[in-house]
């Protein structure tokens, strides 16, 4: 990464450094389109988060418009905040990275660039619709959608619910499009996979070859597979996408249920909402929703760490077979842990709390701890290394998950859950640190690694801004998570409105550190815009002159991908 000589401000803003949008292939353009939308949604979600922090400081805040403290408005922000953050921003960024990486790593063209364009458009429009449902109609059942709240037409307007559900459904349809594109690319028997069977690709995708290699080693036999069909990061993408698929089906299913009731109510029908059992629904919904948190995020992140560690060091991954087998283990773990969300639900069977909620959940410490260990040892064996931004962000990501995973495991306990459930502890010490610090710093590392590939070696505007972003973001993210998490230990609930400044001390500290995250985002955006220029930014959204759907291979030698 080089720092370039500065031009005049306006010239730099318009033209960037040496970015040429016309030189980009269709694959590069579709990747960058989703990345742009992802970071715009990130800014929106950071502003929403700051609004909520400031509202919670109570009477000490006199500058925020009063409308944000009105319950209907406040909780509509809280409802769309995770939709925009997780789907609009994180999903888009992850999907963009993987739709570029799978062709790059498998040396095959992406199955369909048109489908990739459909994916980012669907998710963008869907997120915008869900946001408008909150902003205009104040539809606010929160992302948890605890039945029968989303169908409570005494509190929420039917049109608001309808727009929200359609928005979320569009996001899920886009997600299914991504899944199809990824699997169609992986299973296409072209290029290096021309002679592989579907069975071989499936065995490799699930990490079974890694497990078999370990067993063969223990039995003193020859390796089951010396050259696995799929590289390890692709295995992680394959594995995580299984959970992404199941999660999309569950969220779509819940959306259809809400939609059916809303349509019935709008037609004047008087349906009994309690015909749907609230506990059964909660189990079903959390099973699916938890596949995001405890399934695909952890698996995608582990795969990203492995890829980044090997790309940064240029060496083979340490204990690759163990890593493959751990991804297989995570398959079973992620499907069986949802009950830790129901430890405070007394009608939930005790055995499910004990086995699924506590014991299997504890295995996440093992799977994530393994990923951390393998990544650290791979880096350690390659030392000395230069402290590049991509390495620093990777270490930041490891810190994030090193903090967030144990914070979650602590709460997934029948004793501690009684006093930590639904408090700001789980919200901030666990999943905000996991997402903001753990996941996003990993993604920033990937972004800096992929930047030369996706932009044809465009020079970054400023290295100083890159480091300013790193430190502000890391300190801000950890600080906000820590102070708001401490408010949780003092009894502050996470889905509650405090207007009297009951926890203002913690909230002011959290807001100060949160504003560092917001500032970091602005610096990052400024650096990127000054690198590609407004002209380049517009150019990304113009049709590509080069319709190549792969990177680093001659497409003519590879037959068209067949699903």
């Amino acid at each position: 990464m080089q720092t370039v000589e500065k031009k005049g401000f306006v010239r730099q803003l318009i033209h960037g450094t040496d970015f040429d949008a016309d030189s980009l292939s269709a694959l590069q353009k579709v990747t960058l389109r989703a990345v742009v939308m992802s970071f715009l949604f990130f800014g929106l979600v950071a502003i929403e988060g700051m609004i909520m922090r400031v509202v919670q400081t109570g009477p000490t805040n006199s500058f925020l418009p009063k409308m944000f403290g009105v319950p209907e408005h406040y909780f509509s922000i809280m409802t769309v905040h995770p939709i925009v953050g997780i789907f609009g921003s994180t999903y888009q960024l992850v999907f963009a990275a993987f739709m570029f990486l799978v062709p790059y790593l498998t040396k095959k063209p992406l199955y369909s660039v048109k489908l990739a364009n459909f994916v980012w458009l669907c998710i963008t429009i869907g997120t915008a619709l869900a946001w408008f449902a909150g902003f205009i109609w104040h539809y606010a059942p929160l992302y948890t959608l605890y039945w029968p709240l989303p169908a409570d037409v005494e509190q929420f307007s039917i049109i608001g619910g309808f727009v929200f559900v359609v928005g979320v459904a569009l996001i899920m349809i886009g997600t299914l499009g991504f899944i199809y594109n990824i699997y169609a690319t992986i299973f296409a028997r072209t290029g290096i996979h021309a002679n592989k069977t579907t069975k071989e690709l499936l065995i490799s995708g699930f990490g079974i070859d890694g497990l078999m290699n370990l067993i063969h080693k223990l039995l003193g036999k020859k390796p089951y597979s010396k050259e696995p069909a799929l590289s390890l990061p692709v295995v992680a993408i394959f594995r995580g996408t299984v959970d992404t698929f199941l999660d999309a089906l569950v969220i779509l299913g819940a959306g259809i249920l809400v939609l059916i009731y809303l349509i019935a109510f709008s037609g004047g029908a008087d349906w009994n909402v309690h015909a749907v059992d609230s506990l059964l629904y909660k189990n079903f919904f959390w099973w699916g929703l938890d596949l995001v948190a405890d399934g695909l995020v952890l698996i995608y992140v582990a795969g990203s760490w492995y890829l980044l560690a090997t790309l940064i060091t240029g060496q083979k991954l340490f204990m690759e077979n163990v890593a493959r087998a751990a991804l297989l283990l995570e398959l079973f773990v992620s499907w069986m842990v949802w009950s830790h969300h129901l430890l405070a639900d007394q009608p939930q069977p005790e055995m499910m709390k004990l086995v699924s909620g506590e014991m299997v959940t504890a295995f996440e410490l093992l799977t994530q701890g393994l990923a951390l260990f393998i990544t650290l040892v791979t880096l350690w064996k390659a030392r000395p290394l230069k402290m590049s931004p991509e390495l620093a962000y990777l270490l930041g990501g490891l810190v994030g998950f090193g903090l967030a995973v144990p914070a979650g495991i602590i709460q997934a306990d029948m004793g501690l859950n009684r006093v930590l459930h639904n408090t700001q502890w789980i919200s901030f010490a666990h999943f905000h640190i996991a997402l903001i610090v753990g996941l996003y710093m990993t993604l920033y590392s990937a972004l800096y690694v992929l930047w030369p590939l996706v932009t044809n070696n465009t020079k970054l505007f400023s290295k100083k801004l890159t480091w300013a972003h790193f430190w502000l973001y890391l300190i801000g993210g950890v600080g906000m998570g820590a102070f708001a998490g401490m408010a949780g230990l003092d009894g502050m609930l996470r889905r509650h409105l405090y207007v009297n400044g009951e926890f203002s001390g913690w909230m002011i500290l959290a807001a100060i550190f949160g504003s560092m995250v917001l500032l970091a985002w602005f610096l990052f955006l400024y650096n990127i815009v000054m690198s590609i220029g407004l002209k380049g930014l517009v150019g990304i959204f113009m049709p590509a002159k080069d319709d190549v759907a792969s990177y680093g291979i001659d497409e003519e030698t590879a037959a068209p991908a067949k699903a």
Partner: protein, 203 residues
């Protein structure tokens, strides 16, 4: 070991803070050593299977530790086989609690059962100390029996509110919580007082 949730939370705060500082320090130390030109010797060699055993012991041991040190875990699991000293039946609907006609009072050390039923939405049943810290909570699922057994090892007056979001109607226009019931429960001090949580109230 722990008698009240406050003691537990203090321990938890200290243990997690030490852990957090440790993990951040380890990664910072690690990052610094990655860039050093001279190859540093490992301070300690961690055997792989030792590390795995540590993770498994940490995950499982955490639950064994809490089961043996937090009194309400065992009582909660066996709650249907234990006869309570007192039972309070509470209804909730349309963001309003219907508490027993008589004020809810009990003595320190008594086993108290809370049976909460919702006829419309999912709520949370949470009792709080006067300083805002959480004593106990459970989710209140509509059309289900939500039953919890609790032994108070502290005395004083406790506030009640919903710990689960049930829509903006829980609040008035100014954002005040309409489900907050001040002094919903009073626990009289007994001879075995260990900690007076609500000192101002007790005095």
């Amino acid at each position: 070991m722990f008698q009240t949730s406050l003691e537990l939370l203090k321990f938890h705060w200290m243990a997690y803070t030490i852990y957090a500082l440790l993990i951040v320090s380890v990664i910072v130390w690690f990052g610094w050593n990655l860039t050093r030109k001279e190859r540093v010797k490992s301070v300690v060699r961690i055997p792989f299977y030792g590390y795995i055993a540590f993770l498994v012991a940490g995950g499982v041991g955490h639950h064994i530790f809490t089961y043996n040190t937090i009194p309400w875990v065992e009582q909660d699991i066996k709650r249907h086989d234990i006869t309570p000293d007192k039972k309070f039946e509470i209804e909730v609907a349309k963001h309003r609690w219907t508490l027993p006609a008589e004020p809810m009072k009990a003595k320190q050390g008594q086993k108290i059962a809370f049976e909460v039923r919702s006829s419309d939405l999912t709520y949370g049943f949470g009792l709080f100390r006067k300083d805002g810290t959480l004593v106990l909570q459970m989710q209140v699922l509509p059309k289900h029996d939500n039953y919890m057994l609790w032994t108070f090892h502290e005395c004083g007056k406790f506030d009640l509110t919903s710990t689960e979001y049930s829509g903006p109607d829980e609040y008035d226009e100014a954002g005040h919580d309409k489900m907050l019931v001040k002094d919903a429960l009073e626990i009289e001090c007994g001879p075995e007082t260990r900690v007076a949580m609500n000192e101002k109230e007790v005095k």
